[in-house]
């Protein structure tokens, strides 16, 4: 069984692999972040944020890519970014110039694919422990101040980071071990 601190590293490492390989953007986590674990052994949360990173928030219209998984471990991964950041990610993936127009459907599609790839990379990293994880097709929604939840007895890892030292991005991994 993975603990939450390890899982947080897994989420960030998976995201870093995807962003550096296919989106050509660097992910920087707050250097002085101190994880705060709350709740019980199974139900808790980690937020990688620190006082000096008070600017690391996603304001205004944003996009939330989410993908669920089931098996020995079940839950949901979400990726939250601001609208402009989402467009930047999509244009980098497609090799477009910053000022080229891009349809909203393409941006949604790109954020869905990012969610899919990050979840796939997470699955690869934990499949020695959780051998039977099945992943859904990703979905993307737009809105403001979006939050996700998955009922009770769920653990939560939240990893906030900077993309190319400019844009805030947040990865939330909600999970629980399936009853044996």
């Amino acid at each position: 069984m993975l603990d939450q601190l390890t899982l947080s590293d897994v989420v960030i490492d998976a995201a870093r692999e995807v962003f550096e390989t296919m989106i050509f953007m660097d992910i920087e986590t707050p250097s002085d972040a101190q994880p705060a674990v709350t709740g019980q052994a199974i139900t808790g949360s980690i937020h990688f944020k620190s006082k000096s990173d008070s600017d690391l928030v996603i304001d205004g219209k944003s996009m939330l890519g989410s993908i669920t998984f089931k098996g020995m471990l079940e839950g949901c991964l979400t990726i939250s970014v601001g609208q402009s950041c989402a467009e930047c990610i999509a244009k980098n993936m497609l090799g477009m110039e910053p000022d080229e127009p891009l349809a909203i459907n393409d941006v949604c599609d790109a954020i869905g694919e990012v969610s899919n790839m990050v979840m796939g990379s997470i699955k690869t990293r934990i499949q020695d422990i959780y051998t039977d994880i099945e992943v859904s097709i990703p979905s993307v929604v737009t809105g403001c101040e979006m939050h996700n939840s998955l009922g009770e007895n769920v653990s939560k890892v939240v990893a906030s980071a900077w993309l190319d030292e400019q844009e805030a991005i947040e990865f939330t991994f909600l999970y629980r071990e399936a009853a044996s």
């Binding site: 497609l94 899919n116 499949q127």
Partner: protein
């Protein structure tokens, strides 16, 4: 000798990304086709077969694994090389796909170098 390529993925964005990455790899194709799922791919292949198919696994209507099985029943696809491109990375699943007739496997996220490494032997 120039070859033909088909990219099968339900995401139009991912099809563009794969196409871009193939170009960056330096591999040259004289004809490229796209399909949004396995069924659409089989329909197109029966009308006009290609040398290499790059195929996602999780797709609506007909998955990549179903497509491989069906393609191997068709005379027109006997020489077609099918390479799966997916985030799925379980060895059992990869072994199953290869047993069903896939010729290779590329895991997302991918690089141009990975496409070159996997596709070059299949193009000769």
């Amino acid at each position: 000798m120039a070859k033909s390529l088909m990219i099968v993925d339900d995401s139009a964005t991912m099809r563009k990304i794969i196409m871009r990455t193939v170009r960056m790899s330096g591999l040259e194709f004289d004809r490229t086709e796209e399909a949004g799922n396995g069924k659409e791919a089989l329909d197109k292949l029966q009308g006009d077969p290609v040398d290499i198919v790059l195929c996602d696994i999780n797709m609506p209507e007909m998955s990549g694994s179903e497509m491989v099985k069906e393609a191997r029943k068709l005379d027109c696809c006997k020489e077609t090389k099918i390479v799966m491109v997916s985030t799925e990375s379980g060895q059992d699943m990869i072994d199953g796909l290869m047993a069903d007739g896939a010729n290779g496997y590329i895991t997302k996220p991918f690089t141009p170098e990975k496409f070159q490494e996997k596709l070059t032997p299949l193009m000769n």
